[in-house]
Amino acid sequence: MASLEISALTKSFDGQEVLRGLDLSVGDGEFWALVGPSGCGKSVLLRNIAGLVTPDSGTIRLAGRDVTRLAPAERDIAMVFQSYALYPHLSVAGNLGIGLRQAGLSRADTAEAVRHVADLLGLGPLMNRLPQELSGGERQRVAIGRAIVRKPSLFLFDEPLSNLDAALRVHMRIEMADLHRRLGRTTIYVTHDQVEAMTLADRIVVMNAGRIEQTGRPMDVYHDPANMFVAGFIGSPRMNFLDAGRLGRPGRHVGIRPEHITVSRVSGAVSGTVDHIETLGSETNLLVRTAELGFVTVRLFGHQEFAANETVHLDFDRQRELYFDAAGQRLR
């Protein structure tokens, strides 16, 4: 087990800066989720940590040891790839055991460790299958198993659940949480799924265009975003950004989450017409067209009936409003 310290990490490809000076400090045994829009450099960051690419500048320290220039094999890190990257010519047992055998473990010890991991992940009955004979979820578990069997100090996951269907994702998400609780290894987990990030992580890192926008506990990032980017990125449906001047609020933009707006058919601060309705059963989302503020998204709990073009009145929960300056920075 180990802490991870990254400082001033940069990386360019063909003159294009992909990582622009990243600092990150992950405590021993913590589970961090890395989120950000596609192409912001999440995978490149993981590959730098794993040693698959070498950074242009900056340092990576693992358990206090500088590993920036070490080969991947010398880092004691295991990565689970989005594509799984299982060896197609080896059975499940072979995929799980190969790393141990080559690390010089005896046949008996390898078999023992492989059996232990197989039990942990429920892979027992699949040991003699080839990867092509496994379902997506099973492959996923083998990929995780191959990483954990080596007992590395640091786990890196690159969107491990993104190839699975919704039901399996939920199931694997719970297994991931369970696994982390049992193994207690330092983990960095890249995901596009906010629910995964929110539910699994001790800390969330929001990245954008090669920079870290904010780091914090899931609920801090959610309730107390540092800037408009984070406020807009975290939370679904997306936060509304409204003209502060027209509402008579400080700053340039007012951010308010769809669930912090109430709708009335009788009266309210702002009026508009219902443009679009999404009824999910557990919640109802309205897109309201207003004259002063443009489109406003509202989220209501439970199943609520509205008609298209119906006139509604909105009230904002002022306690929950966030204010941003012209540069998108939060005003406090």
């Binding site: 794993a50 059975s91 072979g94 055998r101 080559q102």
Partner: protein, 284 residues
């Protein structure tokens, strides 16, 4: 259902007819001839005798040469082609790759006949030996030796070995190599555990292709072996065209087919066990 079978037959008919007329019938003819006798003026006289087969020993040298030089040539081709294909598939930038691949095929744009003439000159007294002599390194005889034939073979067949291996390596999922290094393998071990096993199908195809063609080779030994290094192919040309002993020639041909079948079957067996599927027993 019946329409479907009809369609299948229609699609198969041209290939089937070709196969029958150009392969099966001639083979049957050769097989029948191999039990016959030579006519007084050459050609074939119907008979039923095993003499031709009992006489095969007379052509032992051709069998020996073919059965040593064909596998050796295949092996040398493999040893040269693998690093080349590896370099092309994994180490060159895509920008250069096409050009380099074309360079591998360029020799095929000239007839093998002309290229062999070039080798006759290069290996002959005026060529490399005289150069070595000028450098004071002796005056070895190269042309008309097994070595010359081997050089010609390797030179001529190398591209046929490079391409299947290149394709196998090109198709290799590069992420597996990343995974391997991430799982703690130094590059050489990644090569042994991932690259090599996964490129085996290409190696098997290339070896098979080169080996089978070499077993029937006659042009290169004829030109670079100068009548001293004989292949079975040369024996056949001699028997059918010069001495016009069709019956004995047929027996040699049948023997060649049998030898080929046995070696290819043995080879397939071996490669399947070696490259196919769950060979991780050896790892665990």
């Amino acid at each position: 259902m019946q329409r479907q079978t009809l369609k299948t037959w229609l699609f198969l008919a041209p290939a089937g007819a070709w196969f029958l007329c150009m392969l099966v019938l001639p083979l049957v003819v050769v097989f029948v001839f191999s039990f016959g006798e030579r006519g007084a003026a050459g050609g074939y006289v119907p008979a039923f005798t095993f003499d031709n087969f009992l006489n095969l020993g007379a052509r032992w040298a051709a069998f020996k040469n073919t059965l040593t030089l064909a596998p050796t040539g295949t092996l040398i081709c493999l040893l040269i082609a693998y690093p080349l294909a590896y370099f092309l598939a994994l180490k060159t930038s895509p920008r250069w790759r096409t050009l380099l691949l074309i360079l591998v095929i360029v020799p095929f744009w000239t007839s093998i006949l002309i290229r062999s003439y070039a080798w006759i000159y290069l290996l002959g007294g005026q060529g490399i030996p005289s150069l070595l002599n000028a450098l004071g390194l002796g005056n070895p005889r190269l042309i008309n030796t097994p070595f010359a034939v081997l050089v010609g073979i390797v030179y001529g067949y190398l591209p046929l070995m490079v391409f299947p291996i290149y394709v196998a390596l090109e198709r290799l999922d590069k992420r597996l190599l990343e995974a391997s290094s991430d799982l703690g393998s130094p590059p050489w071990r990644s090569f042994l555990q991932v690259t090599l096993p996964l490129s085996m199908p290409g190696v098997a195809t290339g070896c098979m292709l080169v080996f089978i063609l070499l077993m029937g080779e006659f042009l290169i030994p004829a030109m670079l072996g100068g009548g001293k290094v004989f292949f079975i192919g040369n024996a056949l040309v001699d028997l059918f065209l010069q001495s016009r002993n069709w019956a004995f020639g047929s027996a040699v041909a049948v023997a060649l087919v049998l030898v080929m079948l046995v070696t290819v079957a043995a080879y397939l067996r071996l490669t399947r066990r070696w490259a196919g599927g769950r060979d991780d027993v050896s790892l665990m």
